[in-house]
Amino acid sequence: MSTPPAGTFVPPSRFAVPGRIAVSNRSAARWQTATLTEIRRETPQAATFRFAVPRWEGHLPGQHLMLRLTAGDGYTAQRHYSIASAPDDEGHIELTLDHVDGGEVSGWFHTRARPGDEVQVRGPLSGFFAWPGDRPALLIGAGSGVVPLMSMVRHHRARGLDVPLRLLVSARGPEELIYAREYGAETTPVFTRSAPRGVPVGRLAGDHLAPLLAGAPAGGWEAYVCGSNGFAEHASRLLVRAGQPVERIRIERFG
């Protein structure tokens, strides 16, 4: 760690913003138009929405954006969504959204949206959960929590990075596993309700983590956990119990 300038407040622990990631406040402050260009079904509940955003300034894997829909009477609804796609210098981004029961914004996406529709976005936002591809990364996600982690996996492939990367992804069953066709040797799926023949069924457990932490690369893992709060609590406790340092666990939760 570098020495802070004299008089700078030093918090009592090392949990902090990763100093290697710079955040652009300029792009975060500006709404811009995103045009839907493609919809791809991922699972019965989830679909990927691809947008053209001509003035997108780029993002790091793991960042999110804020998206806004506006009704005819001026009412707006805005939500944070993780970006699914790897950084792309052609001005495209992808989001993968679950169809939430009674969801005001996800409901519009899943029942009304079609290519050509326009929404407003601002971002990318927050550097906390970002992974620039410079350190070994242990990614743990459940359900649509895999979305920002997939951006990291895609980035890793697109750049041909050789820094170690592993993904543990939990789903209720194979039919609910988002991006199932894209996973390679870096990924271990964990099925909690039903699994293909020969694959065990059960919750993410210490047994999944022990070999990964025992075989950690030099300098250890940066751990990224994303999912519901219940899953995030479970997975982060398992990580701590398995010996992962608490200040090297980054969590993105959704309610």
Partner: protein, 201 residues
Amino acid sequence: MNVTRGFTGRPRVHNPGLPPGQYDAGDDWPVLSAEVTPDLAPADWSFRVDGLVAAPRTWDWDEAHALPESAYEGDIHCVTSWSKFGVRFGGVSLDAFLEAVRPDPAATHAVAYSHTGYTTNLPLADLTGGRAWIAWEYDGKPLAAEHGGPARLLVPHLYFWKSAKWVAGLRLLDHDEPGFWEQNGYHARGNPWEEQRYSGD
């Protein structure tokens, strides 16, 4: 106005308590901490106020509970766009702690920090005059760990990332110094009624 084709929004009644861009989360109380929930017993909790004060001081759990009780009943607003109405927190007004340490007249801002190392900055004026609390009860019960228990800062008139969970202390300064989310691009003050979400809003 950029109207979204086919979007009407969910049926709604105008709620004057809902700041712009927010929705009513109802009974839900989403958890949005970036770090691992610490395993912090009341006996291990303490709260310190120092920096530009005449008499810096640390309170332990029992000493803090010996201060006069003060409750908050009202609403809370998260920058991720949910609001929660009619919540009830119990604890102690931050005024009681600040009076004891006697702030220097030069103090204008504070950094609140957590037992996890989380930090957030606040103008001192947002922490005084009965507008901020150290809270350890929610709805009459001990505050759950995932919501910041055993004790959190509560500054309900600002976005909720200012209400540091597992609060460990407050340092008074004569200048503003960005905390954890503020260094990540979030607004220095975070007033929901002015939609001060991100730096530059």
